[in-house]
Amino acid sequence: MKKVIFLADMLSFYASVEKADHPHLQDKPVIVAGDPKRRSGIILAACPLAKKLGVQTAETLWEAQIKCPKAVIVQPRMERYIEVSYQITRILEQFTDLVEVFSIDEQFMDVTGSQRLFGDPITIARNLQKAIMEGTGVYSRVGIGPNKSLAKIACDAFAKKNREGIFQLDDTNMKEKMWSLPIGKMFGVGRRMEHHLERMGIQKIGHLAQFPVHILKKRWGVNGEVLWQTANGIDHAPVTVNTHEHQKAIGHQTTLPRDYEKMEEIKVILLELSEEVAQRVRSKNYRGSTVSVGVRGADFKHPTGFHRQMKLTSSTDFGMDIFKAAFTLFCAHWDGLPIRSVSITLSQLQPADSYQLSLFDFSLRKEGLSQAMDRIRSKYGQTAIVRASSLTKSGQAFNRAAKIGGHYK
């Protein structure tokens, strides 16, 4: 039996949630934007009314306000958006038990086995739209396909643009509909890849589908073959329910409020991030043995920065160990230019129940210290105990504690 996969995508999700929660905003152009005083002051979401006036996601707030002076600006409430997204997950689960959350506003579902109960795919999609609207007040678009990648393209390229908000791609209309799309519209093709493919004479998805696969494989390896498969409507990845359970890496990233130039300042951020990563790793009962550091330069037009990793001699869940590795990496690779954002990740995770003890690094004292800090923080809040360096001007611990994903909770 042919599979029937849906991708349900929420229209201007953050803005729609704000409109649903505040009915008096219903007919006004609404913009959800980060704090304009900080770097996060960009447009996170704009409702269709604001978009019609030219407001675009990710532009700065002042650019948007020129185009749309009457827009109501709302501060993001990340906790609320997560809650509504979760509510939508549970609505989808009324139609099938196979639901995979892909992002805060996109979720896959496999309704192959639900058709006898709920009808043909289009009927299910309509009822789903209705259920989401009734439950949350958010308008959703549904892409339908025999696998996830066709469902995604059906949604992005067609369902988002038609009146019904529903579109089905399958073998019968794939060549006619999908192959004539420009190559940049395909899932997995970013700006850079688009450019490479165009230079090879590949303008449309159909061109890529008919391109000799061995040349793509030779140039990009597995990725080349994946692209070719996507262009031909092939994708074997199942809707994976427990996809968020196993964790391969734990990392934190932060965009700084201003460019940091001095080693002393950057050191403070590295330490704060290391401690946060360590705390999260401990709370999940893991230890990790590879530390990676990523840094992005301040100048957008001339991107600088690096992403490097190193393996530790033994696995760890201590902030100081992570910091030492991160700092070594940083010193070795930093070009001295001002910095806009930093990330630290601990990977190669393993359960913390049993691990190789290090002969040279007696860890019991450190363990006691981290346990005490974790307990204080879980009882009295994240900022109840911080490193002294976080109290300097460059510290971001207090600011970060009030946020989710860089925006206010």
Partner: protein
């Protein structure tokens, strides 16, 4: 070989390209756990009678039993000898080599005799 994006059944293609807030992930992980949560079955009278008969037999013959207990997320078993009963509290005391524990009668789903291998494991 390490699985890649082309490995059948692998979800790497999608996992490598998605954006998820850690806070959102946590909510979903909790949800998954709750989905697997079990509800407690109700035993009928005959089953209850059978269990109490088994408890008294096991005590009389002083033999080791395997008790299946209710747990929200997993199958939980305890192996040992039934030492005492406290009908007024609805509890029995199960003890193994170096441990003993009171078990509420309502938590017992089944009682059986352990296999030879299970006998050697030190429970509870």
């Amino acid at each position: 070989m390490r699985p890649n994006k082309l490995t059948p059944g692998s979800n790497l293609l999608w996992e490598s390209s998605r954006m998820m807030l850690p806070e959102h992930k946590q909510v979903l992980q909790r949800h998954q756990k709750e989905l697997n949560q079990k509800s407690k079955p109700t035993l009928d009278e005959q089953q209850m009678d059978l269990l109490s008969q088994m408890i008294s037999d096991a005590m009389e013959q002083n033999c080791i039993v395997k008790v299946h207990l209710f747990h929200l997320y997993q199958d939980k078993y305890m192996i040992g000898k039934i030492q005492k009963t406290a009908p007024e509290r609805g509890e029995i005391q199960l003890s193994s080599k170096n441990n003993s524990k009171w078990i509420h009668f309502g938590d017992i789903l089944d009682i059986s005799f352990p296999s030879n291998e299970e006998m050697n494991i030190d429970h509870p």
